[in-house]
Amino acid sequence: MSTHAHGTQNFDKAKRATIKFSDEIMAQVQEIIKRYPTGKQKSALLPVLHIAQAEFGGWLSPETMDYVASILSIRPIEVYEVATFYTMFHTQPVGKCTFEVCQTSSCWLNGAEDIVRYIEKKLNIKVDETTKDGMFTLKTVECLGSCGTAPMLQCGASFHENLTFEKVDALIEKYRSENRLRSYTDLDYNNTL
């Protein structure tokens, strides 16, 4: 993203001040750091990025990444290079609900492409776009280990499997009415295994 090119010092100070974990979350983070030997706190980076993404709007802004770097006493670049490597970290804003539709072999064999087209039509967006109200983002992803219950999509912590057009309709309606951010770290997951 373009802001990277300017280095960290140019970020809006006021914006950065709002990026701070609550005491409760900070206690969780400290517990995670204790899992690793002394001096190996960088190991906490991926788990803490997941928490940060959930806490600060569903994506990792440069300010958020700098904050995580400061907590783990590592350089900001060490956070940027990780955040941009792994697909679950969003370095651009996304909607409150990101539909990640699996498109690899078994899901494709069971009609994942038709599911994607159906969602595109229904939400009036294309893959990698967000609805105007900021509610839904549509993405396609690679195998999520749901091949026996294909086609499927992930939204936050939940796997929605054996998808049909009717299930997609119901899901969109439910999420729209609940109107909240869905994160991988959510505790209210549902699964069908």
Partner: protein, 446 residues
């Protein structure tokens, strides 16, 4: 039905709780190992069992354990590879989600054998909710005295943690996994040194797949020799197979190694045959990386012998006419399936998942996807088949980690066995796409 060692309690309600798991014989291997066996005796039983890595490579587990360096005063680690990402594979998820204590038990017994006092389960980030289930099981195990200090009153202590990844297939490669666990990008390391000598934080480390570690519990309970009696030849014990695609009963099946492939596909005990009364066209038997085989070669070897679900039988004939058991990700395609389009999803997958470290893989996977896109668009020429063949040959064996091979093999196999499909598209300048959702549900598009 054959013997079941991992999913034998699959029907028991609340088997995911410590109480129920324990009441059904759970944690017996921890008691037996910690109270009556030395760590080396546990390793010996694993060696005798003939257990081979269940993640895909099939390397003998006992041998891998015996390579672990044991310098004085240096911690050793056991890391469980729960980064299940090979397309077509969902067995580890099934085991962890429904039987989390089976993995926790295997981790304790295996950590004891290896002399590890801190162990990690590295699970793919998308399985975040499965990590929650494992963490709950671990809390229960701590409360019951199966984890923590002086387990069951012995001198052995162990801490066990779950680490979530961030979404990267490459982290299933063991050195990439260790990099990721250290909080870095998942770039595989150059070997040697192997993890057994310099792994996590530069310390001796064993990395084993979920199913491999879970299998250690029954091996310790029944003894390695008894375990080795199950199966055929060097394919000992049971294996979880993830069955998907155009079959009547997709799901995870625990089989005794040696079940005939034909029985596995058509028997009601397993896949239950092909959906909608269709004929079978092809099978990817061990996850996306292994060569696809047409019906005649998956059911019978080139010599005409029935193909069995074993490491050896599936590999019979090499890559010319055989394939691999791999991860046990068994994808079945019916007669209306385009092998070309299926291959396109694989090439897109490997391009997306290449870590970008080695040029042949970084550039080659992207190139293969682009050429495959031409077939899907109906703009490919016959010379593009030769181009694909050329590219895959320039990736295979030329990269730091096996992702390069994994990307090359499916391309080579699709061309080897289904070349006419590629030629037809190139000649007709047209690709007839099938809308599988509409087709499988007998719908017409609105």
């Amino acid at each position: 039905m054959g013997k079941k060692l991992l999913l034998h309690n699959d029907h028991v309600p609340n088997i995911h709780t410590y109480e129920v798991y324990r009441a059904h014989g759970g944690y017996a291997s921890v008691e037996k190992a910690l109270k009556t066996m030395t760590p080396d005796q546990v390793t010996d039983e694993v060696k005798k069992s003939g257990l081979r890595g269940r993640g895909g490579a099939g390397f003998p587990t006992g041998l891998k354990w015996s390579f672990l360096a044991k310098p004085e005063g240096v911690p050793r680690y056991l890391v469980c590879n729960a980064d299940e990402s090979e397309p077509g594979t969902f067995k580890d998820r099934y085991l962890m989600e429904r039987h989390p204590h089976a993995l926790v038990e295997g981790m304790i017994t295996s950590s004891y054998a290896l002399g590890a006092h801190t162990s990690y389960i590295y699970i793919r980030g998308e399985y975040f909710y499965v990590a929650r289930i494992l963490e709950q099981a671990i809390r229960e195990a701590y409360a019951a005295g199966m984890l923590g200090k002086n387990i069951l009153g012995t001198n052995y202590s162990l801490d066990l943690y779950v680490q979530v990844g961030g979404g990267a297939y490459i982290c299933g490669e063991e050195t990439a996994l260790l990099e990721s666990l250290e909080g870095k990008r998942g770039n595989p390391r150059i070997k040697p040194p192997f993890p057994a000598v310099a792994g996590l934080y530069g310390c001796p480390t064993v990395v084993n797949n979920v199913e491999t570690i879970a299998a250690v519990a029954p091996i310790v309970n029944m003894g390695g020799e008894e375990y080795a009696k199950i199966g055929i030849g060097k394919s000992t014990g049971t294996k979880l197979i993830s069955a998907s695609g155009h079959i009547n009963k997709p799901g995870v099946y625990e089989i005794e190694l040696g079940v005939p492939v034909e029985e596995f596909i058509y028997s009601e005990a397993y896949c239950g045959g092909i959906r909608n009364g269709k004929k079978m066209k092809a099978v990817v038997a061990g996850g996306s990386s292994v060569p696809i085989l047409p019906t005649e070669l998956i059911l019978k070897t080139a010599k005409g012998e029935p193909r069995l679900m074993t490491y050896e039988s599936l590999a019979d004939g090499g890559f010319q006419t055989g394939t691999m058991l791999g991860s046990g990700g068994f994808i079945v395609m019916d007669e209306d399936t385009s092998v070309v389009k299926n291959l396109f999803t694989f090439t897109r997958f490997y391009h997306h998942e290449s870590c970008g470290q080695c040029s042949p893989c970084r550039e080659g996977t992207g190139w293969m996807e682009k050429v495959m896109q031409k077939f899907i668009d109906g703009t490919a020429n016959e010379s593009d088949i030769d181009l694909l063949w050329d590219i895959q040959g320039k990736i295979e064996g030329k990269t730091i980690c096996p992702l390069g091979d994994a990307a090359a093999w499916p391309v080579a196999a699709a061309i080897r066995h289904f070349k006419q499909e590629f030629i037809d598209i190139a000649k007709q300048k047209k690709f007839n796409d099938v809308k599988h959702y509409y087709r499988l549900n007998n719908l017409t598009e609105a």
